[in-house]
Subunit: 178 residues, 2 copies
């Protein structure tokens, strides 16, 4: 369905609450365990989401509006959260994420986006031409992707404990191909 | 990690809050759309979770404690939520789920489960011998599985709107094989 900025950015406002409801106050067994070598724990996902607030969504939206396709986005650093994660507990990350997400949404409102602005184009270093509307729809889907990833990391901690039920629980299976 | 009833059933108590944070107050575009023919919408997932409270987790736990392997569980009806879903809005389902989940957790505490009881066995109609501990670990993973499924159903509503970013969003890919 067509992206609707009023309707769909409500989902962005909820993500900090969803992650807090999933994880807040649970022990490190749940928050600091990943699901395969090289994958992220919920704690790392929280750090990655903060890094996105700082370097991805609003900075790229501003760049599209200011410079259009004339300048390529900075590549997103998929390891950009590592220092933050080393220094911060999950509780601290959840607080920072909630605050910075609210700031991002205030910045988004301040852009006063119209349909014309939403059609403006920018240049992604790997994907080529993208629109502002696609960037914002991606922000929403990216949140949902990482909430699902947190669920997957948590579920894996009981992969052995479910016994023969493993066969019925698709979240314990191989990840979908990229 | 080994199933710990005190620690791990905390996750069960949070699921209604997580689903409410994800969906409460959003429109039917988000709550009543599935992600491929034959899959469930978030509204149907909520109905399925209620049906599980009524016919799966606590009833099977009681049957294991009372009858052991002498009697097979009733097969779970994967369409058992359909009538409930036809009759109820998402808001109604979320209220019912929250109330019945709390009742299930009270019933679980009343069973005063010990390590010995958690090792007791029952008989699943398709999977054969299972333990009470496996049933309870499955309950936790099943919740996480369906939260992730709600995220997937929501994400799919913007599958086209993300443009070329689709390639980076694994939640928009094919589901993991069962």
């Amino acid at each position: 369905m067509e992206f609707d900025i009023e309707r769909d950015t409500k989902i962005l406002a909820r993500t900090p609450l969803v992650i807090r409801a999933l994880l807040g106050g649970l022990g490190r067994e749940w928050s600091h365990s990943n699901y395969r070598p090289g994958t992220w724990s919920p704690h790392e996902v929280a750090g990655h989401l903060i890094h996105g607030e700082r370097t991805d969504w609003i900075p790229r939206a501003r760049m599209i509006l200011k410079e259009g396709e004339s300048r390529e986005f900075e590549p997103f650093d998929r390891k950009g959260h590592e220092e933050l994660c080393r220094e911060s507990s999950l509780g601290e990350l959840l607080e920072v994420f909630e605050r910075e997400r609210n700031e991002s949404l205030a910045a988004l409102r301040a852009l006063r986006l119209t349909d014309e602005k939403l059609r403006r184009r920018g240049r992604h270093p790997a994907l080529g031409t993208v629109t502002l509307s696609e960037l914002l729809a991606t922000w929403v889907v990216h949140d949902l992707n990482h909430i699902a990833q947190i669920c997957k990391a948590m579920a894996y901690q009981h992969k052995s404990e479910v016994g023969p039920w493993e066969a019925y629980l698709s979240i314990l299976g191989k990840p979908a191909p990229r």
